[in-house]
């Protein structure tokens, strides 16, 4: 399991890996929004929570199809399926590697980009907390989507359509946490909801993903 995590991280960081793809997309999106919306500081402050959350969600979505597609194409998924690792463990590690290379960098860079959007100061801790609590769910759900479309050639569109509705609850409660934080309202309820969704997904999704991979490989 550790070997698989190290391999996936190594592959992501080396040339041609997915690392930086989501990050640069997030960077570009958040930099462009003030130019598109205009320099009105009040408007920016109001839309900042939503933009930051939508941005990180789309950035996560961007690199999802790499999770299994590359392993499927070069045959290592077949070999992993026959290896002594349980498939549930393999998909969990893949999701963890995706989060470490996509979700975590987003959490780290989001405070910097909050400045560009004039996010109120009191919202920063809530933004970091909600992203930290919410992005693992994005990776785990995304891994499930990637597992479902594993045998499909150019399955990227199908993957996005499958995964987007599943991302909604995390987005709603995540952005709500930051908005409430910005307005100085209590944030416990939406933050707990985000954390709850993440924990539920982390606990249950690997079984669904593993089943999807097994079915996907059967058809080949």
């Amino acid at each position: 399991m550790k070997a698989l995590l190290i391999r996936d991280l190594r592959l992501a960081i080396r040339a041609g890996g997915g690392f930086g793809l989501g990050l640069s997309f997030f960077l570009i999106l958040v930099t462009l929004v003030p130019f598109g919306v205009g320099p009105d500081a009040e408007v920016l402050a109001r839309i900042a929570p939503g933009i930051l959350w939508v941005g990180s969600l789309l950035a996560c979505l961007l690199s999802l199809d790499r999770i299994f597609a590359l392993d499927f194409e070069d045959g290592s998924l077949d070999l992993l399926a026959t290896a002594p690792l349980p498939m549930e463990g393999t998909v969990s590690i893949k999701a963890l590697a995706h989060w470490l290379t996509t979700g975590l960098p987003l959490v780290v860079i989001a405070p910097l980009l909050g400045l560009l959007l004039n996010l109120p100061l009191q919202a920063y801790p809530w933004m970091i907390l909600s992203l930290l609590a919410g992005t693992p769910a994005l990776s785990v759900i995304g891994t499930f989507g990637a597992a479902l479309t594993v045998g499909v050639k150019r399955g990227g569109l199908l993957l996005s359509l499958l995964v987007l509705p599943l991302y909604m609850p995390t987005l709603i409660f995540g952005a709500e946490t930051v908005r409430r934080g910005a307005e100085g309202l209590p944030t416990t309820t939406p933050l707990l909801m985000v954390a709850g969704i993440t924990m539920g997904c982390v606990a249950l999704m690997p079984f669904a993903s593993a089943a999807a991979i097994r079915v996907g490989l059967k058809g080949q």
Binding site: R7, G75, L80, G219, Q220
Partner: protein, 204 residues
């Protein structure tokens, strides 16, 4: 070690092979022959547990099969050694040094897999079998793109594996020079294609 009884396998929902039965014991090798499309790969995938069988049973010890597919599952960005070390770790620590040496890859170990020739990639893919430490090798066209020297090298490795109590099932079109291996022609097991009427009935 491995025994198939009356196995039927399907590809794309249609049976391709019917009633395949054979036993492979310790120290034995079986070479599967047959024209393209007869279902060699499908049968091997079923033995490896990647695909269900339509009928019959496949019996072997749990976690005994090492599967070698058409593609080698190499990561282009990783070096030869990193690729092999990964599989060794996954399978619980085989001897990477020895495997590199045995497949004549020791000089290439720090080269990225992207820069290997097709034959060298294949050799690395076969070296993976050596680090799995599993007794039953199930190999699909293992000698594709290997030169004569490497084919002999590979045949030697198979012989060593058999001598140490392993078993191997290989699908191949060329002569490996494994005189001790039994051959099984799959052509007689070809499934009868369902007739037009049967097809309609399935929908009614």
């Amino acid at each position: 070690m491995l025994s198939l009884a009356d196995v039927t396998v399907a590809r794309g929902g249609l049976p391709v092979l019917e009633g395949v039965s054979f036993d492979v014991g310790a120290g034995q090798a079986l070479v599967l022959r047959g024209p393209n499309g007869i279902g060699k790969t499908t049968l091997l995938r079923a033995i490896a547990g990647l695909q269900p069988v339509l009928a019959g049973t496949i019996a072997h010890d749990e976690d005994a099969v090492a599967y070698g597919a058409h593609s080698d599952g190499l990561k282009a960005q990783l070096s030869v050694r990193e690729n092999l070390q990964f599989w060794a770790d996954v399978y619980g620590g085989g001897d990477v040094e020895q495997a590199l040496h045995d497949m004549n890859m020791a000089d290439l170990q720090s080269r990225p897999a992207a820069q290997l020739s097709a034959g060298q990639k294949r050799r690395l893919g076969l070296a993976r079998l050596l680090v799995t430490g599993r007794p039953i090798w199930v190999l699909d066209e293992p000698t594709v793109s290997l030169d004569k020297f490497s084919v002999n090298l590979f045949a030697d490795r198979v012989r060593t594996h058999l001598a140490s109590g392993g078993a191997a099932v290989l699908a191949t079109h060329i002569d490996l020079g494994l005189s001790e291996a039994r051959e099984l022609d799959l052509a007689p097991f070809k499934a009868v294609p369902p007739t037009e009427e049967a097809f309609d009935e399935a929908f009614l």
